[in-house]
Symmetry: C2
Subunit: 188 residues, 2 copies
DNA sequence: GATTTTTAGTATCGAGTCGATACATTTATC
DNA sequence: GATAAATGTATCGACTCGATACTAAAAATC
């Protein structure tokens, strides 16, 4: 019953946002999925900007994602570069054009408009509730959490205030630790 | 910034659920959108079970919805009946087959599983937060609220404890007032 | 009461999504 | 060195979805 109610709200939210995204995206020749890929690339870190990471994030097959990326590359919205160490993997990044376009469409004006009308306190509550729900969903289904370093068990604070990832064994910048990582594992 | 964060969570939630719905639906030959239509029909009232209402609910075009409905009818998951008064409109209802299938897939087991692991209090908070967000989204964008009679300004309580809709000028049953209505207008 | 407009819904088309399958190449394992 | 696993691409077919054009019934206008 409770999860049924939850689902009612979620489905409705989902559909409203997706429809809106489609409408605004279509004016620029972009599909919802393509915007999601661009958006992900704008918030992930340098270890998580590969086609495989996108695949895991979106939960689609690698073939499907490969196509999407190909289209976005042809549109000059993202660019692909080969990894210097592993010749199988490639890294994706937004072009200035892609970045600019994304800024116009995401977050959807519709959502911003609604969010702005809510009291600050309510907004925080909603935000927190959503975060909890995402975490619960990912955890109880054994999916990757794609969190930021702050909440990751691999993250070590060094004495000088810097950050160090104990998985990739490399120092991280202030910018790094605020981005989503495909290797993220919740502490505890 | 806040609405950006909000969007991050929502998009992730959306994509996870949609992918899951696709995966489980595909085993029964159903697309996400088709499940959404079936689900809507299971929660709407008798004034809101028309193709047009579905169109408004999903935010798609009537042509698109018409196709979806046609497929579902061919699969014997829903049935169409003509309105007795207005020959243009038709009413949709789930067949036993459709009802049974829907029960298996919605709400998604994935969500139920996650929801079950949360404390009751948290669950209620999340549920409430989502509801607020949906309302805010619909209100600030002038969309139909699709709420239940309890929160509708057309709903009148009669002295004997029954319900009466002042828009369609008809008495409503206990079952009626718990279903979504396309004519719903928030009180106040 | 006849004409026009609006409303509910259908038919068809083309661009695009997405999973499935098959494949190529590089790296890891034994 | 042979085999297995990992990363990514190519191609196919079923399906989505908006756009456009259409039918028929109801409502509005005159």
């Amino acid at each position: 019953m409770t999860s049924g109610n939850l689902y009612n709200h979620l489905e409705r939210l989902s559909e409203i946002l997706r429809t809106d995204l489609r409408k605004s995206g279509i004016e620029h020749g972009l599909q919802p999925v393509q915007l999601e890929v661009l958006h992900y690339l704008s918030v992930c870190n340098r270890y998580s900007d590969t086609p495989l990471a996108v695949t895991e994030y979106l939960g689609q097959t690698k073939g499907t994602v490969s196509q999407t990326i190909k289209v976005l590359e042809q549109k000059r919205l993202l660019q692909k570069r080969n990894d210097t160490e592993d010749k199988r993997v490639s890294h994706l990044s937004l072009t200035p054009r892609g970045s600019k376009l994304l800024d116009q469409l995401v977050p959807p004006p519709m959502l911003t408009k609604a969010s702005d009308k809510l009291p600050e306190r309510t907004r925080k509550q909603i935000n927190q509730a959503l975060q909890q729900l995402v975490m619960a969903l990912l955890q109880s289904n054994g999916m990757k959490s794609f969190g930021v370093c702050h909440t990751c068990r691999y993250n070590l604070h060094s004495k000088d205030g810097g950050y160090f990832c104990n998985l990739v064994k490399q120092a991280l910048t202030e910018d790094d630790v605020e981005r989503l990582c495909r290797e993220h594992e919740t502490v505890g």
